[in-house]
Amino acid sequence: MSWSDIFLKVLKDNDVRLVTYVPDNVLTPLIKGVTTDNYFMSANATREDEAIGMVAGAWMGGLKGCIMMQTSGFALIANALASLVMPFQIPAIMVISERGTLGEFNIGQSLVARVLRPTLDTLGIVHHTLTEESTLQFIVDSSIKQAITTQSPVAFILSPLLTGGNPSAHGKLSN
């Protein structure tokens, strides 16, 4: 199975049915997977904080959900994390495709990517950088279960080492 198939299977195994997202090239196989599988309820949000709000509401209504976004989108959600997810103890499962590193062509992406881990660390949000298929299932499955059990959010950062990075970067980089 590909990394995206493994990831979606773990979501299913853990009854995570709602996926809200703002798209990214790297997320394409995940989004295609959830939008073409009737098991999932998917919602294309216009902003990442909106996607967080939907998953928070769904959790309180008894539906587990995850939010997919890219690094620059993560930079929009500090307030939603600090004033909704953390104080209300929402086990938001975040999937962040990592732009800005290992072959980024866009200087804006490379700068905004630097706020990702410091923001997560400042808020005390557990995060894992996923770099290889062999450990993917274990990390994601155990961390989703930990998030639900401890009523705490978790962030999975999809490294270019796992995903191959943004396909549109090839040809835009010079040496």
């Binding site: 294309n44 902003r47 709000g53 509401g57 309180m60 209504g61 959900g65 307030n79 909704l84 209300f88």
Partner: protein, 210 residues
């Protein structure tokens, strides 16, 4: 070919209503444990002030997310009526969510905007709706067909009674005065969330309840 005349509402002619009064009228009509998400500030202050009910969720910060949170609840529990109460400043921060809601078409979701044209709680700075922006026209253009200005108290009650008739989400906006919320809920988010979930049948703390 000339464009058809746009649908316009003479907003200056709308009756100016009162948030607390309309909130009281709304809550009096909730007979089926409907979930109500109160947006930050005065929207949730008056929701609390008219009488706490465990199906109320009082936001704290996260300005603009009342409608997305309510949408999530509505998707999780399609048989339950879900209502979001937001101010004009808050919904202006989240106009995109109107397009999401319009496309998902949750029939059990109602969004109510208390529009006084002010960022009331930060010192009454004016919002875009005090100017040329018609928030009902915005919602309708986003694709929420059932989007209405509230003409008066009786009209509000009528619209609430008929909120499921169009088979899709309902968007209402009422012109209101600048009275502040009459009381403030305790700022204890974990408790608010826990009680809300218990009332929605999704709580996990049953064994600890007295």
């Amino acid at each position: 070919m000339a464009n058809p005349a746009p649908q316009t509402t003479d907003r200056a002619a709308l009756k100016v209503l009162n948030r607390n009064d309309l909130t009281r009228r709304l809550v009096a009509k909730l007979k089926h444990d409907e979930a109500v998400v109160g947006g930050i500030g005065n929207s949730n202050f008056d929701l609390f002030a008219v009488g706490h009910r465990p199906q109320n969720f009082y936001m704290l910060g996260s300005m603009g997310l009342a409608a997305p949170i309510a949408l999530g609840v509505a998707m999780a529990q399609p048989e339950r009526g879900v209502i979001a109460l937001e101010g004009d400043g808050s919904i202006l921060m989240s106009l995109g969510c109107l397009t999401t809601i319009a496309n998902l078409k949750p029939r059990n979701l109602t969004i109510i905007i208390w529009d006084n044209g002010l960022y009331q709680i930060t010192g009454k700075q004016v919002t875009a709706t005090a100017g040329v922006t018609d928030i009902v026209a915005v919602a309708r253009a986003a694709g929420i067909g059932a989007s209405h200005w509230v003409r008066d108290e009786a009209h509000f009650e009528q619209l609430i009674d008929r909120r499921f008739e169009d088979g899709g989400p309902l968007f209402l906006a009422a012109k209101i005065d600048d009275q502040p919320g009459a009381a403030q809920p305790p700022r204890d988010p974990a408790l608010v969330r826990s009680r809300f979930m218990k009332a929605l049948g999704t709580g996990r703390g049953g064994a600890l309840e007295g």
